[in-house]
């Protein structure tokens, strides 16, 4: 009795405390009082795209909160939407007219409007794409390396005057039309008429952008997309449908997106998204949920109904420090490639959510599969074969010293010198990554290679990744599914364009493969990397990719581990149905707020 009374008392006291403080917790961004809640039948709950407290909704900030960050396009929209399934570009603010190695032409949709009624114009486009010319630290400065100029002309678009934008490839710069396409679907257009006066108002122009970046832009933001922010707290972000969204008429045949509200709850632990999904409190979640098949009975579904459940998008790899003995030895690297039990990695570390990996770093499925060559893979690639690994090592003079119980003690090389124990650096606490490392260590040791786990705090991990201060490191390069794949993956792994010695920073090829000027330097690699983006002939492109992939397989500068779904999500059809799936592919397997995946919002239906 006493316990119960106390519990009741406790609750009432807590309530009083809450009462005292409530209101501080949440920022309401418009006058409307939403405390009555959001009707379930009008609300879509999505999760997994925002971790941590939402701090800023400023599209000019470096890392704003969902849905302003990354390539989410429900509030601010890009010119084009990339469809990861077809590899095509679908229109949003603009329509792709042509693309070649010199320029990309896009026509702005004349109907496009900001939420304050002003039209979206070439001024807005130029504002964001060329902001780097005025402010070096702008988030889009790097675009200038790829686009030298944006030409504007007037055209007639179905009887309406429209602006045509020609993005000229920066030949003197990176000369890379592929990345220009990345930029056109990645950079979201922001209202220049909102930001220009703010920038101009600041006296010290060297400080202007950084001052503006500090603004949160969280109250009645001027957006062009179908939803806008109405409220947020550390527990959730709430978007409301803009019923006057220009695209409803212009792009979606006059229909409105089905959910009136989109709520993104912010949980502190991965499994809470899973629980919410199974309870039907969450409709879709971009979180890693192990053993998804167990959740099917709770109505949790995926793109494929069966294994591998998701469409792969990225390849996590173990980067090898190519400047450090014995990874300087190609034979050693290749032996490592043969030593890995790729199947175990896939099954145990990623719950089997991917098809079997094929040698090389061109994916054997999806858009890039057209560049994949199975013959080469069989001929040059490394697959799991511990005996082969041992054979290569023996041939190269390495010897594994075993302990009495048969387990590995150490290794010596041809000169009888002890090979140092190698450590795989990996952030501690990233459970799936930790699992990958544990399994690879076991594989290596079974093949007689002296490798150990080297878990570190995430802070140290990020610090040492670019400086090359490690033997082996787990890393997922080119992690976003973009039009420039698989080129961007090769670039991230093999490019010696910015080669820097260990201790200095490199943002790609952190394993420091192919050191310019060194004995084994292969100029072919960099020249292929440079030329591939400019090739428009498919057959020539195929040959170039094939050549590059063979070099990769022969040299094995890094160890690809498995295919991993990217931009994946699982959904529950308890409240909303008609999610796109393999059998109902009206939209690609992209998040409902990314690229062409946004079509999903117009096609959802309420469950009966």
């Amino acid at each position: 009795m006493r316990g119960m009374k106390t519990t009741a008392l406790g609750i009432s006291l807590a309530l009083t405390t809450l009462l005292m403080f409530s209101g501080c917790g949440s920022k309401k961004t418009d006058s409307q009082d939403n405390s009555s809640g959001f009707p379930r039948s009008k609300t879509l709950y999505l999760g997994g795209s925002q971790w941590g407290d939402p701090n800023s909704f400023n599209p000019l900030a470096d890392s704003p909160a969902w849905p302003v960050n990354d390539k989410f396009n429900v509030m601010y929209e890009p010119l084009l939407a990339y469809n990861t399934q077809s590899g095509q570009f679908e229109p949003i603010l603009g329509r792709l007219v042509s693309q070649n190695s010199d320029s990309v032409v896009v026509i702005l949709n004349p109907a496009a409007k900001w939420s304050d009624g002003k039209p979206v114009t070439s001024v807005d486009v130029k504002f964001i794409f060329e902001l780097g010319r005025r402010y070096k630290s702008a988030p889009t400065t790097y675009a200038l390396d790829f686009i030298s100029e944006i030409k504007v002309s007037q055209v007639d678009e179905a009887g309406v005057k429209a602006e045509q934008l020609t993005f000229v490839v920066n030949k003197a710069g990176r000369n890379n039309p592929l990345v220009v396409m990345d930029l056109l679907q990645g950079i979201r257009i922001v209202p220049s008429h909102v930001f220009e006066p703010k920038l101009a108002a600041i006296a010290d122009q060297s400080q202007a952008l950084s001052d503006i970046q500090k603004l949160k832009i969280d109250s009645v933001p001027v957006v062009s997309g179908p939803y806008t922010l109405i409220s947020y707290s550390n527990e959730k972000i709430v978007l409301k449908r803009r019923d006057d969204y220009w695209g409803n008429a212009a792009l979606h045949a006059g229909k409105m997106p089905k959910p009136e509200f989109i709520i993104h709850p912010i949980f502190k632990s991965n499994d809470h998204f899973s629980i919410a999904l199974q309870k039907g409190d969450l409709d879709a979640s971009q979180t890693f949920i192990p053993r998804i098949w167990l959740k099917a009975k709770e109505g949790v579904k995926t793109w494929y109904a069966k294994e591998p459940y998701f469409v792969p998008g990225a390849i996590p790899m173990i980067f090898l420090n190519n400047t450090k003995y014995p990874m300087t030895d190609r034979n050693f690297r290749r032996a490592m490639g043969f030593a890995l039990d790729y199947k175990a990695i896939k099954e145990l570390a990623v719950s089997g959510y991917s098809p079997d990996i094929k040698p090389g770093i061109i994916m054997s499925m999806g858009v890039e599969s057209k560049y994949y060559n199975d013959e080469d893979a069989k001929k040059f690639g490394t697959t799991f074969d511990a005996a082969q690994a041992k054979k290569i090592l023996t041939a190269a003079g390495y010897k594994s010293i075993l302990k009495a119980d048969g387990s590995l003690d150490s290794m010596v090389d041809a000169k009888g010198k002890r090979v140092p124990t190698l450590y795989i650096k990996c952030p501690a606490g990233w459970s799936d990554w930790e699992a990958i490392v544990k399994i690879t260590v076991k594989s290596f040791r079974n093949a007689g290679i002296d490798v150990r786990e080297g878990f570190v705090d995430a802070g140290l991990y990020w610090q040492s990744l670019p400086t090359g201060d490690w033997d082996l490191i787990l890393h997922k390069p080119a992690s976003s599914v973009s039009p420039s794949l698989p080129w961007s993956r090769f670039e991230a792994v093999m490019s010696s364009r910015n080669w820097a010695k260990v201790g200095e920073k490199m943002n790609e090829n952190q394993g420091r493969y192919n050191q310019p000027g060194s004995k084994n330097f292969n100029p072919k690699v960099d020249s292929l990397l440079k030329v591939i983006p400019t090739i428009s002939d498919t057959a020539a492109l195929k040959t170039a990719y094939r050549e590059l992939n063979v070099i990769f397989m022969e040299d094995q500068p890094v160890l690809p581990l498995c295919y991993l779904p990217e931009q994946f999500y699982q959904f529950s059809d308890k409240t909303w149905t008609n999610w796109p799936t393999e059998t109902n592919p009206y939209a690609p397997p992209q998040l409902p707020w990314v690229g062409a995946g946004i079509k999903t919002l117009w096609n959802l239906e309420l469950a009966k």
């Binding site: 609750i11 405390t17 209101g23 405390s35 890392s63 709430v238 995430a458 802070g459 910015n498």
Partner: protein, 357 residues
């Protein structure tokens, strides 16, 4: 003047020591995070900088260093550079000086990881939840635990023989494991209570009955997960204190004098409670760690996770802000309890007086 007033002397003496502790703690809190090798800007660059060219990444990095006040700038706001062209780092001492000045102005700085959010703003958002969960739990856990413990000590017999091992067992369970079990049984299997969150997913905090009802419903499991184990632990402590007090002369005498039973129980409770009170104030600091786990297990809003991510990301201003908060509240709690005990227990005051401190 203090010489004539032992109470004032006692208070001022305690206050002086607490203030000194505070100063040392603030200094340690400032320098400790900076001893590590990880650099906050590297962590941010790890996320922002991928795919950037070396030059672009360097520019970005320098603009962060400048923004966070980690490097020296000249009057024009340009970076000072050494011969090798690298920015000149601001010394820790100089940063400390700036930090102290800012603290006095009530500004705890801007968080690095939650840029551009102010530290005070982060604390203001999260603290009410932490307080709302922790304070009632601690107070009621303490009161209930101590009452039951005192009762067990006084009554002994069957009540004690059942109560004591149960309390002992409950307080042996790691409380996060207990929280997990609560989730497993009451949220997942039985579905009586929500598994996570601070209020229903379709609500926004406001002054409405709906919100408070929802908050109360979501409060139950996190509350129980801390309350039961806290109460169990307190009860055990109180029971043995109580049995100890029960054997003291004054309790025997009170019985000989025929003092009423509830009065004797009150004597017992009050005197046995004093050390328990000190113990509670002392353990407040370690409860922060506990709060963090509760927040993790229940996805409950609060300050704990903010501290964890801050420390992991070397977010100096946020670490400093949070540790300052913890330091101040633990010291204030201890100081209050010290003073309170000074008033409640004349032995303490007398001891202080006689010790000549």
């Amino acid at each position: 003047m203090f010489k004539n007033n032992p109470t004032l002397r006692y208070i001022s003496h305690r206050a002086a020591w607490y203030f000194l502790t505070f100063l040392v703690a603030v200094t340690i809190n400032f320098f400790l995070p900076r001893l590590g090798t990880a650099n906050p800007v590297d962590i941010i660059m790890g996320k922002v900088g991928t795919g950037l060219d070396t030059e672009a990444a360097k520019d970005k990095e320098e603009s962060y260093l400048k923004e966070f006040g980690l490097v020296e700038v000249n009057d024009q706001g340009e970076l000072l550079r050494d011969e090798a062209g690298k920015p000149v780092k601001t010394s820790n001492i100089k940063q400390f000086g700036r930090y102290l000045v800012m603290c006095f102005q009530g500004d705890l700085g801007t968080s690095f990881l939650n840029y551009p959010k102010k530290v005070t703003e982060i604390i203001k958002d999260a603290l009410p939840w932490t307080l709302a969960l922790q304070i009632p739990t601690i107070i009621f856990g303490w009161i209930v635990g101590n009452l039951l413990g005192a009762l067990a000590a006084y009554r002994r017999g069957v009540f004690d023989r059942i109560f004591f091992p149960v309390a002992l067992a409950i307080s042996s369970i790691p409380f996060f494991a207990f929280g997990m079990l609560l989730v497993y049984v009451f949220a997942i299997n039985l579905g009586w209570f929500p598994a996570m969150g601070g209020y229903a997913g379709d609500l926004i905090p406001s002054f409405s009955l709906t919100f408070f009802k929802s908050a109360a419903y979501f409060y139950v499991l996190p509350f129980l997960s801390i309350f039961l184990i806290l109460a169990g632990g307190q009860a055990i402590g109180m029971r043995s204190m109580g049995i100890y007090e029960l054997g003291t002369d004054y309790i025997k005498c009170a019985k000989w004098f025929g003092i009423k039973e509830n009065k004797v129980l009150m004597y017992l409770f009050r005197n046995a409670m004093l050390p328990q009170l000190t113990g509670l104030a002392l353990s407040l600091g370690s409860m922060i760690g506990g709060a963090l786990i509760t927040e993790m297990i229940f996805s409950y809003p609060g300050l704990g996770m903010a501290i964890l991510t801050a420390v992991q990301g070397n977010d100096y201003p946020l670490i400093q802000g949070c540790t300052l908060l913890v330091t101040v509240s633990v010291l204030i709690a201890n100081f209050t309890v010290d003073i309170l005990i000074g008033f409640l227990d004349p032995r303490v005051r007398a001891g202080n007086q006689m010790g000549g401190k």
